[in-house]
């Protein structure tokens, strides 16, 4: 009899889109991340999991320099996008965030129309030459976010008039409207019901054809469902990183095992 053998090596890894080397983050005197080395593979979904306060969201926010605006936050080490250090003095943070978009835990549409929510980014970044081109970007973005059919006849209505799941997809449409290369998602489904969650997860799976995605989630089932790579954070360090099927079937580290099987003390 042959018993199912689970591959333990990561063969032929896709190239890293982003790479963190010895990343240390401090909030004032308190250190939140310790020498984190972590790669984000191109056109794949990387899930960051771990208990509250483990540093997963901190790491996510380092990836598009969101920690710059946090009082007393200090980032050490190197984080590269396509080999270029994003913390270099010459880097324009606004341009950087156009390349690395973000979707938050709670849907946060602007208090504007559905159309304006999506059109805002391309307009300020000067991505559209005229109204027709902008219309096209809005439509494509809403289509990619799986929202077009539901809102095409009411683009002038406020984004906040949509349901929670629709609002989150609107935020995803807004993020992809500026053609980013990487999309960061910070618990994008935690405020949604299971059906809206399934829609977003399906969307994530489609988006990874064109984008590199990093998702922070408290739901391990969600990490297992949507990601190809998983990093388990605990107390500010990456305890284990690997291909998702391997991490969820035969984790190497005892702490990973305890966490994903619900034995965390």
């Amino acid at each position: 009899m042959t018993v199912l053998n689970i591959a333990t090596s990561i063969d032929a890894l896709p190239p890293p889109k982003m790479q963190g080397d010895k990343v240390n983050v401090y909030y004032g005197a308190k250190q939140a991340l310790f020498d984190v080395d972590l790669s984000v593979r191109e056109r794949h979904v990387t899930a960051l999991i771990g208990p509250s306060g483990c540093g997963k969201s901190t790491f996510l926010r380092c990836l598009n320099r969101m920690n710059d605006v946090v009082e007393g936050a200090r980032v050490e080490g190197r984080i590269a996008l396509d080999g270029q250090d994003i913390y270099d003095r010459g880097v324009d943070v606004v341009q950087l965030r156009a390349r690395i978009g973000m979707v938050f835990q709670k849907p946060n549409p602007f208090p504007k129309s559905i159309y304006e929510n999506v059109a805002y980014g391309p307009r300020i970044h000067g991505l559209a030459a005229g109204r027709a081109e902008l219309d096209a970007i809005v439509e494509t973005s809403l289509r990619r976010a799986g929202l077009w059919k539901e809102v095409s006849d009411r683009l002038d209505q406020p984004g906040t008039s949509l349901s929670g799941g629709q609002q989150q997809r609107l935020c995803i449409a807004r993020a992809i409207a500026v053609s980013p290369e990487v999309i960061l998602m910070d618990e994008p489904c935690s405020a949604l019901d299971p059906i809206a969650t399934a829609t977003i997860e399906e969307l994530i799976d489609e988006l990874r054809q064109n984008f590199t995605i990093v998702i922070v989630t408290h739901s391990m089932q969600q990490a297992a469902r949507v990601s190809q790579f998983t990093a388990f954070f605990h107390l500010g360090v990456v305890v284990e990183y690997g291909e998702t099927p391997r991490v969820f079937t035969t984790p190497v580290e005892k702490r990973t095992q305890d966490y994903i099987t619900g034995r965390f003390g």
Binding site: L4, N5, I6, Q221, T250, T261, G262
Partner: protein
């Protein structure tokens, strides 16, 4: 296994599942022992009891199915827990098969009471049965204690059982050639021998599953096969 789950009912569910399998294992052990004894002692009543006990094991197998389905649906086990649940289904199925072979052996021992067979041939079945009984006991211990080393030892020992089966196969052929009147009885004994040898194979499967539960893999390297020359023995010369 590891420390306890935060949700304690989860541990209780997993413990119950293992308890059901241990119960099945204990019954299968008794069934094999009784089937061999019924043959050796020509004890018809005991053979009947083996046959009538079999539905109990089938019922336990069904209970394992129910428990695993419920665990999967309600607890969504991961990693080691998932392996425990999956291997439980397969171990239960293997034990059910082993008990079936015991039942079949008991049935044939009833038929054999009226057939003429050399006593040495019956002793041969007993000789084959003993290491299988020992392997079953050991693999159940290995299961109960999650002892991969012990499971591996059981797995490696199957070679001896295979060789012993091959020897018995030849022995039975000889008896049949010597005295054609023994063909009916010896054919039944051949099937019994095959049953016991197959039970041994299921025991090695269980041994691999004991390893899979703990490590995520079985015993990858090939076990030397002892029965290859069996087929040359059976071929016409």
């Amino acid at each position: 296994m590891a420390s306890e789950h935060t949700v304690r009912r989860f541990d209780q569910d997993l413990d119950q599942l293992s308890a059901t399998i241990s119960e099945m294992g204990g019954l299968a052990e008794v069934q094999i022992a009784d089937a061999l004894r019924a043959l050796r002692d020509r004890d018809g009543a005991l053979a009947e009891r083996v046959i009538s006990t079999d539905p109990k094991i089938d019922a336990l197998d069904a209970r394992v199915q129910d428990q695993t389905v419920q665990l999967l649906a309600l607890r969504q086990p991961m990693a080691v827990d998932l392996r425990v649940v999956l291997s439980s289904i397969k171990i239960a199925a293997a034990l059910e098969r082993i008990a079936d072979y015991a039942k079949n052996t008991a049935k044939r021992s009833l038929v054999l009471r009226d057939a003429s067979v050399p006593p040495a041939a019956i002793a041969g079945i007993d000789r084959l049965g003993r290491p299988v009984q020992a392997a079953l006991k050991d693999v159940l211990d290995a299961f109960a204690n999650g002892d991969v080393d012990k499971a591996r030892a059981v797995w490696e020992r199957d070679e001896e059982i295979d060789q012993s089966y091959t020897a018995l196969f030849r022995e039975l052929l000889t008896y049949m050639m010597e005295d054609p009147r023994s063909i009916t009885g010896c054919t039944h004994l051949l099937f019994m021998a095959k049953n016991i040898e197959r039970a041994g194979d299921h025991i090695t499967n269980i041994a691999e599953l004991v390893s899979f539960r703990r490590t995520g893999h079985g015993f990858a390297d090939r076990r030397p096969k002892g029965s290859a020359d069996l087929y040359s023995a059976a071929a016409p010369r």
